[in-house]
Symmetry: C2
Subunit: 361 residues, 2 copies
Amino acid sequence: MAENEGPIRFGIMGCAEIARKVSRAILLSPNAALVAVASRTIDKAKQFALGNKLPESVKLYGSYGELLDDPLVDAVYMPLPTTLHSKWAVMAAQKGKHLLLEKPTALDVKVLDEMLQSCETNGVQFMDGSMWYHHPRTAKMKDLLSNSHVFGPLKAIHSSSSYHPPPDFLENNVRVKAELDGLGALGDAGWYCIGAILWSMNRKLPTTVTALPTAVRNSAGVILSCSASMIWDEDETVATFFCSFLAHETMSLAVCASNGTLNVDDLIIPYEETAAGFSYTSGAKFVDLHIGWNVKPQHVQVETKLPQEALMIQEFSRLVKDVKYHGGRPDTSWAETSRSTQLVLDAVKNSIDDGYKAVKM
Amino acid sequence: MAENEGPIRFGIMGCAEIARKVSRAILLSPNAALVAVASRTIDKAKQFALGNKLPESVKLYGSYGELLDDPLVDAVYMPLPTTLHSKWAVMAAQKGKHLLLEKPTALDVKVLDEMLQSCETNGVQFMDGSMWYHHPRTAKMKDLLSNSHVFGPLKAIHSSSSYHPPPDFLENNVRVKAELDGLGALGDAGWYCIGAILWSMNRKLPTTVTALPTAVRNSAGVILSCSASMIWDEDETVATFFCSFLAHETMSLAVCASNGTLNVDDLIIPYEETAAGFSYTSGAKFVDLHIGWNVKPQHVQVETKLPQEALMIQEFSRLVKDVKYHGGRPDTSWAETSRSTQLVLDAVKNSIDDGYKAVKM
C-alpha cells in the first residue's frame, strides 16, 4: 500500500517573500511535492518561479482560483495578507484542498472559526505556518519542561519578538497596512510570543490578558509595537511579552519554573539551520557565603537534518496522507494551537483598543 | 599625605547571614579594616566572630549603641531588618559614622529621606549594599549600552530576580515578617530588578508604574511574589519584572534597544567570583530566505581580582577617605541611586495595595 502513496502535492497561493522559504521547504521535504504556484498575474508567478529556480514541472497560474481548480493539487500553502485569508481559505477548503495558512491566521477568532469550520466540513487538514513548533529543539525543551523534577510548575514566562525594518516599511509594507495586515506587529511578531507562552503552558488559556499602556501605532493606526501581560490565577503564573517593529531582532523565550529556568534566544528562526540550542538551569542554589552558584546553565544543542520549515511541511504532509490514503480524519490539534493563539491575540488587541483594560478570558 | 591615611575602619551592626559575606569583603578590601562587630547580645557577636574566623583584633559589642560610641569606627555596615534601619541609620549618622546600609533601604521613601537627610546634615557618606553595581562587568555593559551605534535608544527591558527557599522560610524568615522586612520579595528580590531597570535607563524615572494582577502574599500579608511594568512615555520604552520567593533562582536582565540586545543571567551574584559574563547582539538581520542570522550573540567575559562585594567596600572606603582625609563632601550619587529605586518600589507597592492601579510618577 505505502509504495503506491505519492507525495502530497502543494500549490502555493501568493508569492510573498516568505513563500520563497516555504517553496524550498516543500522541495526539501521527502513526502511533499511542489506542483503549482499562483499569483495575481501570470508574470508574477513566472518571476517567482525563475527567481527561486523552481523545477519546470511546477505549473504557474495567474489567478488563485485556477490553482484551486487544479485537481492535481492536494494542499495549498497560503501566504496571502491576513485580510484575504478568510475568502481564499474557505474556498480552498470547499475545493477539498488541505490548508497550510500563514500566520496570523485571521483578524479575529470569529473569522478564524469560519475557516476552521469550513476545513472541518470539507474534511481537510488545517495548520498555520508557525515553523518553530516543528524543530526537534522544541520537543526537547518540552520534554525537559514536562519533567517536574527538573522544572515543576511554571511561575513566570517572558517572550520577545522584534525586528527593526527601515522607515519605509513602517508606512508601506503589507504588514502595516490597515486593509491588508491590520494586526501589525501584534499579528506578525506577537503571534510568536503568544504562541510560545501558550506552548509553555500546554495551551491553557490565561485568566486575564492586559496590554501594557505603551502601544505605538503608525499613521494608519496599525500597531508597530506593544506589550502585554497574561495571568493564570489558579496557577499563580504570570507571562509578559514585547513585540515590535521598532526594536532590534529578538526571538526569545524565558521560562522560570519552581525548580528550573529555561532560556532560548533564537526560538522562531534558529541562528543556523542544522542545529539549535537552548540553556537551562535546575536546582540552582548559592554556594556558602553567596559568592557563586552551585550550578551553571547547561547548554543543549539539538541537531536536525531538515530545517524546521521542511519538518513543518513533512508533518503537515504526513497528516494529509493519513486523510488521503488511509481514510483518517484531519488532526484538529493544530487548529486548536492556532485558535488559542488567536484568542489571546484578540484579547490583547481588545485591551489596547479599550484603553489597556484587563480582558477576562 | 597619602601614606598617613589609614584604612577606613568598619563596624558591622547586626550579624545577619549577609554580614558573613560583607565581613569577608571588608577583610579583602585594601583600603578598609574590620574593627568591630555588634549584635543584640555579646554571645551572638562572639559566635559570629568565631564562625567567620574574624581576627582577634575585632572588638565585639553586645549592643548597637556601644559600637556607635566607639571613636575608632569610621563607618558602619548595617544589615539590620528594614524596619530598624531608620532608627539606627539616623543615630549612626548623628554619631558621624559613614553608612553602608543593606537593601531594601526603607519601607518607603519618606523614611529613606529622613536617613539621607541625617547623612547630609552630618556630612557622612551613604551607599546601599547593592553589590552588582561595583562589578567591572557592570561598567563594561554600560559602556556598550551607551554606544548608540551598538545599541541606540532602549525599547524593552525585562528583569527577573527570584529564589525558592523551603516552606518554613515563607512563614518565618525575617524577609517575610511584616514587622521586620514588610516588603517581602519586592524589597529583597524586586529591589534588584528595579535597580537594574533604572540603571539601564540611566536612573530616569518611569512615567507610569503598574503592578500586574498577580501578587502572592503569605498569611501575614507580606508579598512573596509579584510582577510589574514600568513605562517611559516620551521614550516609548517599556520594562517588566518578576520577583519571587516561589520560583527558581533567577537574576537576569534583558535589554532590547533599537540596534542591539543585551542579556545577562547572573547579574546580582555572578556564577563565579573571578569573572562574569554577558552576551550581546548588534545589527542582527536574517540571512537570505530567513533561514538563519547574520550574527550570533557575542559573549563577553570580564575578569576581576576582587569580588564585587569587596569592590563595593573599596569604592565606599574611597569616598569616605575623601571626606575623612581631604575635606571632600560625601558623594550623593549613591543616595540618588537608592532613592530612585525606592521611589519605584514604593509605586509598585502602592499599585498592588490599590488593586493594581497605574501609579503616575
